[in-house]
Amino acid sequence: MQHLIDICDLSVAEIDRLIEKSNDIIKHRENYSEKCKGKKLAALFFEPSTRTRLSFEAAMLELGGSVIGFSEANSSSAAKGESVSDTIRTVGCYADIIAMRHPKEGAPLVASMKSSVPIINAGDGGHNHPTQTLADLLTIKREKGRLNDLTVGFCGDLKFGRTVHSLITALSRQNNIRLILISPQELKIPEYMKQEVIERFGMPYEETDSLEKAIPNLDVLYMTRVQRERFFKEADYIRLKDSYILNLSKLAHAKADLSILHPLPRVNEISVEVDDDPRACYFKQVLNGKYIRMALILKLLGVE
């Protein structure tokens, strides 16, 4: 039985097959509408995340399966102090597969050690969120036609942004990926990411605090939210926030075939005026997230 806790639980070949499968689902939706008939997904959301939960639920429903679960810990046994291990053993009696979100880092790993059915990590605190990374990879593959030989810019909060760390880790297994890391000094990528991933796998990279300077070289731009609460001083936040907002005037210097990604939700880091630009891919990314979750559910359930 296979689980997905960390993006590295999947080999590069497995990710390629998930991407192929997603593309086939997109092309032949009708072939998949009954693939999971009679199967149940349990969506266990110990903390609320409406968009991720809806994505999993929509994915299972489109495969003909059904969904049970809860959307916040208050309404669940966790509120009564039940351990993750016990909750999982109980739910395993009812469901064929579990998508789990939990505020504590490592909770899905604990679940997978005790579970009789496959566990999908739907986000554990600030730690991992592998299905977001799968959505990112599918989007890059569909937009660029490849996952190698790309200059990828990451912009915004590179310090706490788990989606950034996870996508960089996934890309480190591809050939010829060049990184441009765009962030304020306060939110630079952590040293361990540099040492244990970027430098270890020999990825060429540069760090800059200027989105304007970096943008002409990029094939992919991954935007993230710069959160007010990450700054000690309100003044620093005010001073910096506008430098990391993508608008049409900054975009004027970008390549014609740039792909702009964002894990969403956004606040103001991408101006709404960019939404109609053909280079904006973040809403397609949401849709891709549903398709690759469908592919993942099929894989983990062993349905061809």
């Binding site: 291990s85 939990h102 504590k104 880092e105 490592g106 790993l109 554990d124 605190g125 730690h127």
Partner: protein, 142 residues
């Protein structure tokens, strides 16, 4: 207990000077019924100064703990006053219930009866990480 000679027991030698109390703690030696001697700051030809721990009983020693705290130690097993075995601990691949994760956001802080497991992720720099949240454990070098 005669500090110089043990009849049956264990002598942990070549402990880095000053490290013996830390080892005593990690090895849970305070829970033993037999006598334990900690000898600090012994002059050593090889190391300048070293610590030694003598345990007056042949207990099961967790070599992983030794490997983690001070991999340069030597473990001598004494029987009938003679050294019958000499062991060198290695840097363990995994530490189970030796150290605790310090990350307040880690599941180990709330989940009952869960094993504290750390994996060696960087042999050169002796980095161990919690398998649940991937936080780095403080190495004994620090």
């Amino acid at each position: 207990m005669n500090i110089d000679s043990i009849k049956n027991g264990i002598v942990i030698d070549h402990i880095k000077a000053g490290k013996s109390m830390e080892l005593y703690h990690y090895l849970n030696l305070e829970n033993l019924n037999c006598s334990v001697a900690i000898i600090k700051n012994v002059v050593s030809k090889k190391m300048g100064r070293k610590d030694i721990i003598k345990i007056d009983e042949d207990i099961h020693l967790n070599l992983d703990v030794l490997g983690y705290v001070d991999p340069d130690t030597t473990v001598n097993i004494i029987k009938d006053g003679v050294r019958i075995e000499k062991r060198h601990p290695e840097l363990p691949m995994q530490l189970v219930n030796v150290i605790k994760c310090k990350n307040p956001r880690c599941i180990t802080t709330t989940e009952q009866e869960i094993a504290q497991i750390f994996k060696l992720t960087d042999r050169k720099n002796r980095v161990y990480r919690c398998i649940y949240c991937e936080s780095k454990a403080k190495t004994s070098k620090e």
